[in-house]
Subunit: 208 residues, 2 copies
């Protein structure tokens, strides 16, 4: 099982995700599609159920309300993006290089994610509190995830011995800031610019 | 004239702040007080005028609308906080130490600012977009300000030669993230925690 799968599993357990439930997956797929196209506000549970080809009652047996559906859709996107990043990192030689690349991928992928783009544009009042004041849950999840990557790389002797948790949070806070406030000298839309941030500030902090 | 006064001056010029206009200052004082106590939404221009002891028409001769008043109140708070930070930094020996302390003061003062606390609690829908998607103007202002401090310290040979603009933005993005998302391993309410961030991550990046 991949790292992302292991860590997100505990989150998903809280939300009682039934493994192998095709209807559940179809509802999530439909939710993602509709939320990305029309936003959260204008999409109803009924819309999602219809698109998934099931009845309203069937949808409500899986998700107590739209908020819960939204939450699971977002968590699944996080898990998917993490899995993709893990795949991309596999081809990279050296622990330090993998950590730096994970930062570049996290910033550019998060910034470019269609659902996030959509909500930042049309529903900032919903998404901004989630990505700021109520970020702590998602932040702890990503921090634990990233810290475990840092711990492994540290054990291999590829980066300096230091608190993985703090360093992970530092990296995540930069990801957060660049995604929320893309207009600066550091530009999350430009991979070269993100890479420069990693080289200038993370490499010296990570290097032994 | 202090550094803060020089840099904010250009901002204030755009807003046509009449120097020495007592009524103008009184309106700003009343605005700050009412916004902090009741929030932005529930405070009208009329309330502000009444508190300042002037008529509605007089208030509107100074500020075209409440939004402009809010903007100037916030800018003035930024200028005041910067001046206070400048004063506090004067007693600190060594350029590197001054830069590190400026970070600690920026995080703790911004996080603890009564108006910001108030708006983050009762009007996130107004303040969050200002501190994220529309941060670029304020961010450029602070970046220019902090970069000029870094440039001076660099000239004195107290910190490593590097892009002051990028480094300033890195520091400001951490300030932003800690103010917006205080719940993490890094805690903006705890000065010792902020100082640890400065020691662990900024000192190595700044040191020659």
């Amino acid at each position: 099982m991949s790292q992302a799968a292991t860590v997100t599993q505990s989150f998903f357990q809280n939300l009682k995700v039934p493994e192998g439930d095709k209807t559940y997956q179809k509802l999530l797929d439909s939710g993602l599609e509709l939320f990305t196209e029309f936003g959260l506000r204008r999409t109803t549970m009924e819309d999602v159920a219809t698109k998934a080809g099931v009845g309203r009652a069937t949808a409500y047996r899986r998700f107590s309300d739209k908020d819960q559906l939204i939450q699971v859709v977002i968590l699944r996107e996080c898990q998917r993006e993490l899995s993709k990043i893990e795949d991309d990192l596999r081809s990279i030689e050296g622990g330090l290089e993998r950590v730096l690349e994970s930062f570049v991928l996290a910033v550019t992928r998060a910034y470019g994610h269609p659902l996030l783009r959509r909500l930042m544009t049309s529903e900032p009042e919903t998404i901004l509190p989630m990505l700021t004041q109520r970020l702590w849950q998602m932040m702890s999840f990503f921090r634990i995830y990233l810290a475990s990557l840092l711990d492994r790389v540290k054990k291999e002797g590829d980066i300096r011995d230091q608190s993985s948790e703090m360093l992970a949070e530092l990296m995540l806070r930069l990801v957060q800031s660049m995604v929320l406030s893309p207009d600066g000298v550091m530009n999350p839309a430009d991979e070269a610019s993100v890479r420069k941030v990693a080289e200038l500030y993370l490499r010296p902090l990570l290097s032994r």
